[in-house]
Symmetry: C2
Subunit: 183 residues, 2 copies
């Protein structure tokens, strides 16, 4: 039971917030140990995969697909472009957007990175038994999906490429509970 008066570090250690932060910290460290030599970060990897999946996608829709903040994504794309892994091109039909395509160099890097990525994902879960891995992944997926609308960068999977911007999303107004997570 948590101490009634003032929380101690021992309390903090057992709280979800601490464990989620630590696990993310560890996951990134493992990823970088495996992929650092390729000069590829977890975020850059996800963006590359999404761009290959959806050639010609624009930055705003991409940010929804990978669940990055749009501001963050801007600098990520800048770095990917600087490394010549992607190209950004203006379009005639909408002068605001810049469409994204992966370069052959990007494709080669992605292919080369695959084994490293697999090793990284494997190592993250290594301490758990197969059944435990399955359990935690199921519960985590549930937690993430049902809390999807909370962060500024919710995941939005674009079913049907012709679709334009999503319907104007209600800004979450710091509700007391989590009614929307049961949607």
């Amino acid at each position: 039971m948590p101490s009634k008066s003032a929380p101690t570090m021992q309390d903090v250690y057992t709280k979800p917030g601490h464990l989620f932060r630590r696990m993310q910290q560890i996951a990134v460290a493992i990823f970088m140990e495996e992929c650092g030599a390729l000069d590829l970060t977890p975020v850059q990897y996800a963006a590359l995969v999404a761009i290959r999946d959806d050639p010609g996608i624009d930055a705003t829709r991409l940010s929804a697909l990978v669940a990055f903040d749009r501001s963050t994504l801007g600098s990520v794309l800048e770095r990917l472009e600087a490394k010549e892994l992607i190209v950004r091109r203006a379009t005639p039909d909408d002068k605001r957007v810049k469409v994204l395509h992966m370069t052959p160099k990007g494709a080669r890097l992605l292919a080369k990175a695959m084994p490293a990525i697999d090793r990284a994902q494997e190592r993250m879960m290594a301490p758990l038994k197969p059944a435990e891995r399955k359990t935690i992944m199921t519960l985590l997926a549930k937690l993430v999906h049902l809390n999807n609308d909370v962060s500024r960068a919710p995941l939005r999977i674009d079913h049907g490429k012709a679709q334009r911007a999503a319907a104007p999303r209600k800004r979450r107004i710091n509700g007391l509970a989590n009614e929307q997570t049961h949607a």
Copy 2:
């Protein structure tokens, strides 16, 4: 089974790395929704609790207690000091270290924040049933503890306050597996 040739976003969505990143993103968002009005971040909260637990601790040992990188902790402490929640003082016995203490203002903020923190932790787990919450916390704790040595900022709990620096830690050299995690 994962696609043999090239991973798609659908593959990425089900990988541990993606779910850990999303969950951290969501956890921070919930924390900030609850505590943002108090101008307190998750990281600052943990540092405050640790400093109250261990008055007179120095920055290096604190970084081990909260599992922050030392470089990061420096700026965190700077902000806490600017907000007058803590003080940094030099010591006569070792001119290199600056010991940390919480101010009454810091104590008041921490007390005030407690209900918000509890609400935040509660909301993160809200989508899960009580039994599921227990399961995921157990598995997460196991994952984090057994992977503790991976990141640059492993958690080091300082048993016995008189203890000085920890024994020189072997730098992890990108091992293939995770032998050290079973220590």
